[in-house]
């Protein structure tokens, strides 16, 4: 008898869910269009360099979230991919005269390679051990960057030329550069979206939900995790390489452990496991840094306080809380975690 009641309630939630997901896709489409329009006209109102920095960090955070939110792995070494790619891109563009688009791809490929190595050692461990191994390996990479000759140690690689996109679009022009960065960002987001909504993404989800069961269904869990790790590293590299061209330099700041911490902060603030949450998290952190950079007050204290407030009051992050709120649910969103 209780079984019957249970069944009918399960069926009704299922049909409610389909309706909701129909509303959700409409809402998503509306938000997507508004978001795109805002990004297209944004340089008319805001400082383009700031916007480009924001887009780079947003992509970095989304790449990180691919691992934390969709695979359940907390990496403490993602600065290696972001900063490493910045060095690779800066080097091949400045020293070897590569065009910018190829330079960024070299950065992403380099990051993917580093991800393969780090992932290979880390994925067999879980939780805190996974985090510690990634941290240790990224610290090793930091010291490599400090010592290696091509990175120029404390100085970093300075005055990297932005070059010409496809040979004829001059990226020294800030507007051109902005739309180029926006293009890279959108490509990165599309790749992430496709990745999590693919047969492969389905397996990642199942591993996150019940690893033992995934193994018993014959999935070699380690390989799937490694695949996600490499993908996340490559996309973080895409962001890092782009940032190197925006600021025209690559320095040790981008490979330090603080950068790994910052991206965790951005993702948590925005909402783990939401596609667009990390964009808002990155936006908040970058904005705070930018506006407090000129004040006497140390910015780390402010971001620390914001972080504490978020963890205490908005556990799901900004977007996660919005999805779970009454308004969010009315709009058809659903946040499961």
């Amino acid at each position: 008898m209780s079984d019957v009641i249970h069944n009918s309630s399960a069926t009704s939630t299922a049909s409610g869910r389909t309706e909701r997901s129909a509303t959700a896709s409409k809402t998503y489409a509306a938000f997507l269009v508004i978001g795109l329009l805002l990004l297209l006209i944004a340089p008319a109102f805001l400082y383009p360099i700031f916007l480009m920095k924001l887009l780079c960090f947003a992509l970095f955070a989304c790449a990180f979230n691919l691992l934390l939110g969709y695979t359940g792995l907390l990496s403490f070494g993602h600065a290696t991919f972001f900063g490493g790619a910045a060095y690779f891109t800066a080097h091949v563009v400045k020293e070897w005269g590569f065009p910018p688009e190829i330079g960024i791809l070299v950065g992403a490929a380099g990051a993917a390679f580093l991800g393969l190595i780090m992932g290979f050692f880390a994925i067999r461990r879980q939780g805190i051990y996974f985090a510690m191994i990634t941290l240790a390996l990224s610290q090793m990479f930091f010291f490599f960057c400090l010592q290696a000759s091509f990175t120029h140690g404390e100085d970093g690689i300075q005055s990297v030329p932005r070059g010409h996109l496809f040979g004829f679009i001059d990226l020294a022009n800030t507007t051109n550069m902005y739309y180029f960065v926006l293009g890279v960002f959108l490509i990165g987001m599309i790749v992430i979206w496709r990745f999590i909504n693919s047969p492969f993404g389905m397996i990642l989800k199942s591993i996150r939900e019940n690893e033992q069961r995934a193994i018993s269904l014959g999935y070699s869990v380690a390989r799937y995790k490694l695949g996600a790790f490499v993908m996340s590293a490559a996309l973080a590299g895409l962001a890092g390489g782009t940032k190197a061209l925006v600021f025209q330099f690559a320095t040790l700041t981008d490979v330090g452990w603080q950068m790994s911490g910052e991206v965790i902060l951005m993702t948590l603030l925005g909402g783990i496991g939401t596609l667009i949450g990390p964009i808002f998290g990155a936006g908040l952190v970058v904005t705070l840094q930018n506006y407090l950079a000129t004040s006497q007050f140390p910015v780390t204290i402010i971001t620390g306080v914001v972080f504490m407030i978020c963890v205490l009051l908005f556990r799901r992050g900004i977007i996660g809380e919005f999805y779970a709120s009454r308004l969010g649910r009315k709009l058809g969103f659903e946040h499961r975690r």
Partner: protein
């Protein structure tokens, strides 16, 4: 003499066997020197009091645990050192004592995750989710077999405990395993589901081997051809249900208080 006659009577081939299987956790021997032969088209029950080592035997056979000693052979291949996921791909698939579904996936998606790998649709990260729709027909068939049709689009976490177990059986069957290991498939189920699951097990056992841990002795006597009784990690008795039920030691150790 009777034993000899039974030996001569043609039994189906052994598909999974263990010899001298042992597992110690420190000084504690959870499983000690267990020999098992699981035959094709037979339902084999593993019974015994709590803590007898039944689940440990399951974990050893499926390689979720590495045995301290002994060997395991699956379909003529030594799998003593084979990793768990590979064993599953070779056709030995298990269920878990605590219901193992993917809680935030729908019933359909749960079954499709299982179908994805044999269907060759597990590593494609460039294809849309809708590419999985080609598995729907097969998935719906399995969902119908276990009687979950009405809950097809429900989220697994919303199902009752018994229905989750049924879903788990559907995902296990999705792999079309040669040997099926079911860890207490009926635990926590209502009478109606028990009947359904008994029929499913009897049905699937026509073409494959089943080893199950089960506490419900009426189910065991009903559908199992062979029973192995474990106690403190060792085999206490073996044979068909009637033989085992007659055994004095078994009655004393286990059935005396719980016989149905």
């Amino acid at each position: 003499m009777a034993v000899l006659a039974k030996e001569l009577h043609e039994e189906p081939r052994v598909v999974l066997s263990a010899r001298g299987l042992s597992k110690s956790f420190g000084a504690f021997a959870a499983v000690n020197n267990v020999d098992l032969d699981i035959r094709h088209a037979r339902v084999h029950a593993l019974i015994g009091p709590n803590g007898a080592g039944k689940t440990t035997v399951f974990n050893l056979l499926t390689k979720f645990l590495q045995p301290t000693a002994g060997s395991i052979t699956l379909l003529g291949t030594d799998i003593t050192k084979t990793p768990a996921d590979k064993v599953a791909r070779m056709g030995l698939v298990r269920s878990f004592q605590i219901s193992a579904v993917f809680p935030y996936l729908s019933v359909l998606d749960n079954v499709r995750v299982a179908l994805q790998r044999p269907g060759g649709l597990s590593t494609q990260f460039w294809l849309p989710m809708s590419s999985l729709d080609r598995l729907n027909e097969q998935a719906d068939e399995l969902i119908e077999t276990v009687g979950l049709k009405r809950e097809r689009n429900a989220i697994a976490a919303d199902l009752s405990y018994g229905r989750k177990r049924v879903l788990e059986i559907a995902t296990t069957l999705a792999l079309d395993p040669k040997v099926l290991l079911l860890d207490e498939p009926m635990a926590g189920m209502g009478q109606e589901d028990i009947g359904t699951v008994s029929n499913i097990i009897r049905d699937v056992a026509k073409t494959r081997a089943v080893l199950m841990v089960e506490h419900n002795l009426s189910v065991v006597s009903d559908i199992c051809h062979q029973v192995t009784v474990l106690q403190r990690g060792e085999i206490l008795a073996e044979g068909d249900y009637a033989t085992v039920a007659q055994d004095e030691r078994v009655r004393l150790a286990y059935m005396g208080t719980e016989d149905a």
